[in-house]
Symmetry: C2
Subunit: 248 residues, 2 copies
DNA sequence: TGACGGTCAGAGGTCTGACCACTGACATCA
DNA sequence: TGATGTCAGTGGTCAGACCTCTGACCGTCA
């Protein structure tokens, strides 16, 4: 005789609390900037110990969802920084080979720019043009340029109307930030990048998806090439060889 | 007379602990897969309470750096979790629409299977064949089949020799697990999936990258179609209408 | 000999209740 | 009116207790 039992799912209190908070945030019951109930109150109304509540809050704090101010209270973050913040902390353990990251970017961004052409509205394309202008006026400060540069790429991903691809792009951007900065500091690189952006923009505006993808790939291959040059020119500035294997 | 004082920076114990762990990780003193000291020991050697250690561990767990197994211990994550956890935590606040996840999968897996053909060794292809056999022998239990199914897709991603793409695939797999299970439970779906796998395998073995990509896309479009049917047959089993817009 | 179940140590999970440190607001006083 | 003191509320930290889960060891019994 074969008895069939249902698996009993056990979750930790911390998980449950995070899930409940998440729902309240999603439903709009808690809005960005709002103050959450004090830990003690939260614990009591959930019928759990304060320690459990604190672990959940701590986790969400480091995810960038909550902001904890000692003596004041716990607040829901203003939305925008949720992804990047979390990533900054975790990317300390750099692990992906830079060339693989770039290759992945080629695949993702080849797709986003293609979809962007197919799916975007004229207003979207106007915005993209404005963002291009913005990069063109930020040619003095590398960091600012890189920021504007990312806004341009991000806007394209948004125009693809696929939030997953957008998220992937943001993630990779964080992981390649350092290298991007190194590349852009090379003389002539800002102008170079701007040229590529202009070509991409042109293809998007004229709704030529294939050509847009083509220019995007050229752009990323160019970056790939520069990074390769950088890597070769300073063969190893990594110290630990044990960790070398899983450095990005 | 103007006295100038240095600002006293106060950090929380949790921050300090995270910082110390981070240094040990970066220096290679703790390697991926390693077991950390028990919470109690860690607490004692840091001269802090166990609660503080737990908060630090919990934070790093949700950052994807540590893996906590109840009754066993705390471990430093293996390489590949970072992106997955990134997605999971952003998924906490904003669920990705299922159709966008599938679309992303088409883009990623179209690339991995192509690269797999180009880059894989004969041994890799043998292994893939074995994994196909494994799926073919697990047709009775849906959960097991799904697991074997994933191993097949994962192996392809590994053969592409791009850890970033592999990681993204894993992330998406976790986010679509539920829907995959629903699809595979439909009658005839296991056989259907096996057919597609066989075709993909065939193209890989004969080193036809374009055809392999083609079959992979057909496979995923098929899944897309099934999910669409599912979604339409139960239009709204979500409760909150405020959140409706963001639910996948 | 090998499968099964009992036992136990060690690990994480949870709870309690206490006290400290910081913040903001209100009351007080010169 | 402005500086100062006070205090309640909130997060930060602690010690110690007990629970549950995991893995390993070991004896029983077919």
């Amino acid at each position: 005789m074969v008895l069939s039992f249902k698996r009993i799912e056990r979750s930790t209190i911390t998980e449950d609390i995070i899930e409940q908070l998440r729902e309240k945030i999603l439903s709009g019951e808690i809005k960005p900037g709002d103050k959450l109930p004090p830990e003690r109150v939260l614990a009591e109304s959930l019928s759990v110990a304060r320690t459990s509540v604190r672990e959940a809050i701590r986790a969400m704090q480091y995810m960038g969802i909550l902001e904890v101010r000692c003596g004041e209270g716990t607040f829901l973050s203003e939305n925008t920084r949720i992804l990047t913040d979390h990533f900054k902390s975790s990317h300390l353990l750099k692990r992906f080979p830079i060339m693989e990251l770039i290759e992945a970017r080629k695949i993702i961004e080849g797709a986003t720019v293609y979809l962007a052409v197919v799916r975007s509205s004229p207003e979207d394309r106007d915005t993209l043009q404005e963002l291009y202008q913005l990069t063109a006026t930020n040619t003095d400060d590398e960091e600012k340029f890189l920021q504007a540069d990312f806004e341009f790429h991000k806007k394209i991903a948004e125009m693809s109307q696929n939030s997953v691809l957008l998220e992937m792009l943001s993630a990779m951007r964080e992981l390649t930030l350092e290298e991007n900065l190194d590349v852009i500091k090379k003389p002539g690189q800002i102008k170079n990048a701007l040229d590529f952006h202009r070509k991409i923009l042109g293809s998007v505006l004229s709704c030529d998806a294939d050509k847009a993808r083509e220019h995007m790939l050229r752009h990323l291959e160019d970056i790939e090439q520069r990074i390769l040059e950088l890597v070769e020119s300073r063969p190893s500035d990594e110290e630990s060889d044990a960790a070398g294997e899983w450095q990005r």
